[in-house]
Amino acid sequence: MMLRMLFDKLFTGSAAGSVGLLCLLLIVVLGPMVWRGMGAVVFRETVEFRKMQHAIFGRGSQAEILRETEQVDGLRKPIYDTFDSFAQGIDVDKQLDRVREIYREYGDSLRQRNTPADEFTQLRSTAKTIRDRLTEALETVDQSEAISLTLQVLEMEINFAGEPQLAEFFEIARRYKKTVEGIDPGHRQEYAELLREVRDAMNTLFGPRPDQPKPPLAEHQFGATRWDLVQRDVRFLLYDEQWVQETPGQPLQKKLIPRKQQFAGTELEGWFDQIELDLKSLFRPRLRIYWQYFFDDSTPGHFFGGVGPEILGTLLLTLLAMVVAIPLGIISAAYLVEYGGDTFIIRIIRTCINTLAGVPSIVFGLFGLAFFVILFGRPCILAAAMTLALLVLPVIIRASEEAIRAVPSTYKEASLSLGAGRFRTFMTVILPAAMPGILTGIILSLSRAAGETAPILFTGAVFLGPMPRSLLDSTRALPYGVHGIATGDKVGMTMPHQQYGMVMALIVLVLLLNFLAIGIRWRVSKKLRGY
């Protein structure tokens, strides 16, 4: 007896548990997608975001953005300057070229000034000595030698106080001395490589420098547009990610090496700290509710902007599908209820409707490809919408049939007894009474059509493309966009919020439709219980 009771309790418990599991699954599935998707709408924008919004969507006041850009650029300038001065010391080839050029130009200018021959020779040979020393200093890999050579060059500066052309020689020497005191020229090559990484990281973080030409693609035109992106990207600037072998035979381990350490003893040592410290004033983060996300177009690749065309395309596809499927569905349902006995033909029709409901969505896609695409000549909105219409037709028929059957037969009898014809009775009595139920079915099938991907894969959806200009163009659509962006389009690696944002938009759209349907049904059932 105990055992039986225990088993009973266990059984009840596991049944309740599986319902609990279902609720948990719903939260686990929806939670991260909706929560992280909201990150595409509510986030902390940076000055780069405001610049982007102004440049691409024309939002915000020009004067304010110009002022802000100016302020931020003012703050960024010392950062660039420090970097440049250090980079110049590292990039010797450029300096060598410049040194030779100065020497040549100096010679030319001496000749133009008609300097007397002996003075000319003397000046030029001194300049040549300086040039050679400097070249040697730049080329050597020995630190002390480099320092002593630059010192020798600098000593000669007093002799050439009156020669403005040669001033640059000494400037280069001074700068180079500062660099060489910090680093060993033997390691110059390594520093050059590190600097390249730093420069790349700087470009992602701050965007192109103000003095550089504007990059051709929108995705490279702006720095980190969101505060979370700033925090992610600044890590690449402050730390070097390396994969090192800790134990032989094992996979490599990721290690973060502070760049401050890599550049220890150089001018740049304090530079990284300064950036980290000033990050807020460099980017001016501010809370933003970007509701326009649902309406904005996006730059190619979905790097910036929203999902407007996707939502529009999805609505267009579903509504077109509905325009076809609703009349067909309701009429079919009406026929099945009004005239449908249990005859052979009706049974065949019912089997066909069931079969249609059971056909896998990808087979609908194949059919659309083999039939509608050929019919319309190319994958287009019409072909995709027709395919979707066939997909939802059985859903609408079943829902409408159920709703029509639920109308009490007394209504119909009363109407008929008043002399109304069958058609009139149906249109004015039965259909209105069945409308809430039919509407629920329609909205549910609308949400089904909006979320289907497989039927539109080959029939009219594209991942990137212009807005459709006619029904014979293909269109972007939310579900296909979600697939494209999730299976790793490049934007997924750099801007994950765009990924989550799109899937959130799809889920919200579909769930809104569902809640609407549930709400209607709830009201109807409440009213029914009220009677």
Partner: protein
């Protein structure tokens, strides 16, 4: 009652006529420029289209990335004006095109290398063609056998219709059939994503998709870089093509798109997307 009936009837007739008229309008509407083909060239096509949007705002360019094979088929069927291809047309495709009175002209726009990539945690730095062939045939299944750590190999391939696959198939694994455990993905970024998230993975992607999350390795001792690929030293490098039906009319938008890679902006885009411009070396 009768009048009401006729009113509604007129309404219906009006609706039907209205639908017919709109359909007619829809039918006669003209589509813009359609570019179809390789997923490798796709990003270039997108970027070119983006650059054209500012200079020609009235021309809608649709870029469909469906693979080289389909690009060729689309050009032959007249479904697109420009086919992007990461391989040259096959002789069967040429024959078919000529039968259809389409005369394909190739425009080489950039160079690309098919890079062998591993997860960055993988200590392997170099593989030979033979080793890679064995991996993809399923004869080597653990990195241990190649001197790496004890980790099962997950071989990732592009699907068999893509141009990247053909290049890899021809130039790296010498037309051997891949084993059954090879996973197939349908685009370069997808291959990148799979390798990035799988420590035991090996895959192959275009040079433009290499970043810090995946590690390119030497193939037969040669590292895929811009120099080695442009000079043709790297064994798995290839030119990227745009194909048009006949040489496009000079000054037309198709012509402009086909020679866009020669402009400074075009070259910048090619570099920005990680390919190698033709005139640089």
């Amino acid at each position: 009652m009768n009048t009401r009936f006729s009113v509604s009837r007129i309404g219906w007739v009006g609706l039907v006529i209205g639908m017919l008229v709109t359909t007619q309008a829809v039918w006669s509407a003209e589509g813009g420029l359609i570019v179809d083909g390789s997923t490798t060239v796709g990003p270039l096509g997108d970027a070119f289209a983006e650059a054209f949007k500012t200079s020609h705002p009235d021309i809608a360019i649709t870029v469909n990335k469906t693979g080289s094979g389909d690009g060729a088929a689309a050009l032959i069927d007249g479904r697109c004006q420009i086919a992007m291809m990461s391989r040259f047309m096959k002789d069967t495709e040429f024959t078919k095109a000529v039968v259809n009175k389409v005369f394909p002209v190739a425009h080489t726009i950039a160079m690309d290398g098919v890079c062998i990539v591993l997860h960055p945690s993988n200590p392997i730095k170099e593989l030979t063609k033979e080793q890679i062939t064995k991996i993809y045939k399923g004869e080597i299944t653990n990195w241990k056998e190649l001197g790496g750590s004890d980790l099962a190999i997950v071989a990732i391939s592009r699907d068999t219709s893509s141009g990247t696959y053909e290049t890899f198939h021809e130039l790296v694994i010498n037309k051997e059939k891949m084993g059954p455990s090879v996973e197939y993905v349908s685009s370069n970024p997808q291959a990148h994503a799979r390798v990035k998230s799988t420590p035991g993975a090996i895959g192959y992607i275009g040079l433009g998709f290499i970043d810090a999350y995946v590690k390119a390795i030497k193939l037969d001792g040669i590292m895929p870089t811009r120099q080695t690929i442009a000079k043709g030293k790297y064994p798995a490098s290839r030119p990227l093509f745009l194909f048009t039906n006949g040489y496009p009319k000079l000054g037309s938008i198709v012509h402009e798109l086909c020679v866009f890679h020669l402009t400074e902006k075009g070259q910048e885009i090619i570099e920005a997307k990680g390919f190698i411009p033709l005139t640089n070396y």
